[in-house]
């Protein structure tokens, strides 16, 4: 059984290895500015990975993944300011976010809210976070020692070494942490979807009624994968506020919520490397668009989303895989046609 999982994970290990090579090669080749930018993109890739898990494998249409991402970032920042040490703050961030997701998920999945409503509810939760945290600009809004700062947000303390709270990591070191976290999350998710749990989740995505008739409680499985995804998004949030240096309510904006969906749609649902790759590609596209004023970012992303929904609904990675598979299959198919004309006609 265990060997089977490892065999199925071969492509996952391959991409993780590529990531590892990149992690050690990039700082030697690229400039510091690019590395700092990349850290942000890596944090967003972790976010995309979490949605790829929830949506692509769990079939849960969560439009509010940025809510968990932002909540993780805020929880980390507030906890780190209060503790003066970032290692427990990371744990707190992941715990709080997962707990919040579990509570929200309980109402959603045990209320048997269907996919479309689920999207709208999670999006609404995100937007409520957005409008609430924007209002917290007064000095009365503080948690412990941390002022929430309203629209301007809070500046996040940089990561320190787990055993020494006075030795902060510099941006070039945060890059290593971020890349390592991305690779570990990728391996974890890649492993998870091949476990029994992951397979049941896929079965529920394919046909919820059938899975339930076979005796699986789909509500529990959905709640589980939703909570795990939220925890991963929180890790992304921690990396994000470390890469940027502060966290503002803008993470909860409609634009960012849409962006997350677009990464997964463009990359392809049901794959993991697709959304991660799409995140990097679109991150650089939007950065490039930010440098000019002719085309608005919203406009371009809107067109991308519409085009993909109408014309490439599967996304890039599955489309490419299908194409490669079709080319590979061509040769043996011709042989089979000659050998067994009967089956061909039946097809």
């Amino acid at each position: 059984m265990n060997n089977g999982i490892l065999r199925n994970m071969r492509p996952t290990f391959f991409y993780a290895f590529l990531g590892l090579v990149f992690m050690f090669a990039a700082p030697n080749v690229l400039q510091l500015f690019t590395i700092i930018n990349l850290t942000t993109a890596i944090a967003l890739a972790v976010l995309a990975l979490s949605l790829a898990l929830i949506w692509g494998y769990g079939g849960i249409l969560c439009f509010g993944q940025v809510a968990f991402f932002g909540l993780g970032a805020y929880a980390y920042t507030i906890a780190a300011i209060n503790f003066g040490d970032t290692t427990p703050a990371i744990l707190v961030a992941v715990m709080i976010t997962a707990a919040f997701a579990a509570a929200l998920g309980y109402f959603i999945f045990f209320g048997r809210v269907s996919d479309v409503y689920l999207g709208v509810i999670t999006l609404t939760v995100t937007l409520i976070f957005f409008s609430l945290i924007r209002r917290t600009s007064g000095p009365e809004y503080k948690i412990g020692k941390a002022l929430l700062g309203g629209f301007n947000g809070v500046s996040s303390p940089p990561l320190n070494l787990p055993w020494d709270r006075s030795s902060f990591l510099f941006p070039e070191h945060v890059f290593y942490v971020a890349m390592a976290a991305l690779i570990l999350c990728y391996l974890f998710v890649g492993w998870l979807v091949h476990t029994r749990f992951g397979r049941v989740c896929v079965a529920i995505r394919e046909n919820e009624l059938r899975a339930e008739l076979l005796g699986y409680d789909s509500r529990l499985y959905k709640l589980g994968i939703f909570t795990i995804g939220a925890g991963i998004a929180a890790i992304g949030g921690v990396l994000f506020c470390n890469g940027v240096g502060r966290i503002t309510p803008d993470v909860f904006s409609l634009y960012n919520a849409a962006l997350t969906i677009i990464w997964v749609i463009v990359g392809g649902r049901g794959t993991l490397i697709g959304p991660v790759g799409a995140t990097f590609a679109l991150f650089y596209l939007t950065s490039a668009l930010g440098g000019q004023s002719l085309l608005n970012n919203n406009l371009v992303l809107g067109v991308i989303l519409i085009v993909f929904v109408l014309l490439v609904p599967k996304g890039v990675a599955p489309t490419v895989t299908d194409w490669v598979m079709a080319r590979r299959k061509k040769a043996p198919k011709r042989v089979r046609r000659r050998a067994r004309p009967q089956t061909e006609r039946m097809e």
Partner: protein
């Protein structure tokens, strides 16, 4: 006594406001099972229509009550023909496509008018006195027009031929089609009407809120909660959802401040959906419109 009247008026305004911003969404959702994520942008376009046309010298009442619904209604019909009709029956894809449309519209308006607008329109009605308290006359007007709008939609659905055909299509599209109704046209008209109502609401609210390309985001969260809590019946759902959620929001805002009002609204909606996943009209008032 004056205080009670003033608070009552405020509460009525919160409820009417919720009903106004949700009605267009409810029409499209109730009739076509399409959740229009570009709803906020339809409101935004209505607001821009009013601001642009009043700056061009059009009377503000004409701009709000005639031009805004007309312009946005036409945009709605175009959108339905170009985008929505390819995706009927695929709810998730419709949702994503309308989200793309929402981004597209925000981007377009930002490119044309800039990220913020300097010009706004003032509310055309002044303050009115209730004893020692003063209330905005325009808010009173909005309450009245919301009631009137709900009544008009009810009349249309209940007593006109279009309403009959639309209700028939909603209940059983195949049966309606085999009886000779062009369901495709009904869908087009319904979507256009829903968009027009959204445009009207956006136009009416423009003097209160001002206009920005991204203002849709502030409306849609509330509109979605109201429509989903209300359920699929267009009028009863919108009315029940906005009375319940608007009432809670208003009371909590009055007691504990507007931030808590919003939290109360959200929590109430989530708990409500746990108890009644199909919304209020999924359990009560089932036969209503």
């Amino acid at each position: 006594m004056d205080l009670v009247a003033a608070i009552g008026l405020q509460l009525a305004y919160v409820i009417a406001n919720l009903a106004l911003i949700s009605l267009g969404l409810a029409i499209i959702f109730g009739m076509m099972r399409v959740i229009n994520l570009a709803h906020g942008e339809f409101l935004m376009l209505g607001g821009y229509t009013v601001v642009v046309s009043t700056n061009a010298g059009v009377n503000i009442w004409v701009a709000m009550l005639i031009l805004a619904p007309l312009v946005v209604g036409i945009i709605g019909v175009i959108v339905e023909r170009l985008l929505i009709r390819w995706l009927y029956g695929r709810m998730v894809d419709t949702l994503l496509a309308t989200w793309g449309l929402s981004l597209l519209l925000v981007g377009l308006v930002t490119s044309i008018f800039g990220a913020s607008t300097g010009t706004t329109v003032a509310p055309p009605l002044g303050a009115i006195k209730i004893g020692t308290y003063s209330a905005s006359g325009y808010e009173l007007f909005l309450i009245l027009i919301t009631v009137l709008l709900l009544f008009l939609v009810w009349l249309t659905l209940r007593f006109t031929k279009l309403g009959l055909l639309a209700r028939g299509t909603m209940q059983n599209a195949e049966m309606a089609a085999s009886l000779g109704v062009s369901t495709s046209r009904i869908y087009m008209i319904t979507f256009g009407l829903g968009a027009a109502v959204s445009g009207l609401a956006g136009g009416l609210l423009a003097p209160m809120t001002g206009v920005l390309p991204t203002i849709g985001a502030t409306y849609i969260a509330k509109a979605f909660i109201t429509v989903i809590s209300g359920g699929s019946a267009i009028l009863a759902g919108t009315a029940a959802g906005s009375v319940l959620l608007g009432g809670l929001n208003g009371i909590f805002s009055f007691v504990a401040g507007s931030t808590f009002g919003e939290i109360a609204l959200l929590i109430a909606a989530i708990v409500l959906l746990r108890l009644m996943p199909r919304g209020i009209t999924g359990r009560f008032f089932r036969k209503s419109l």
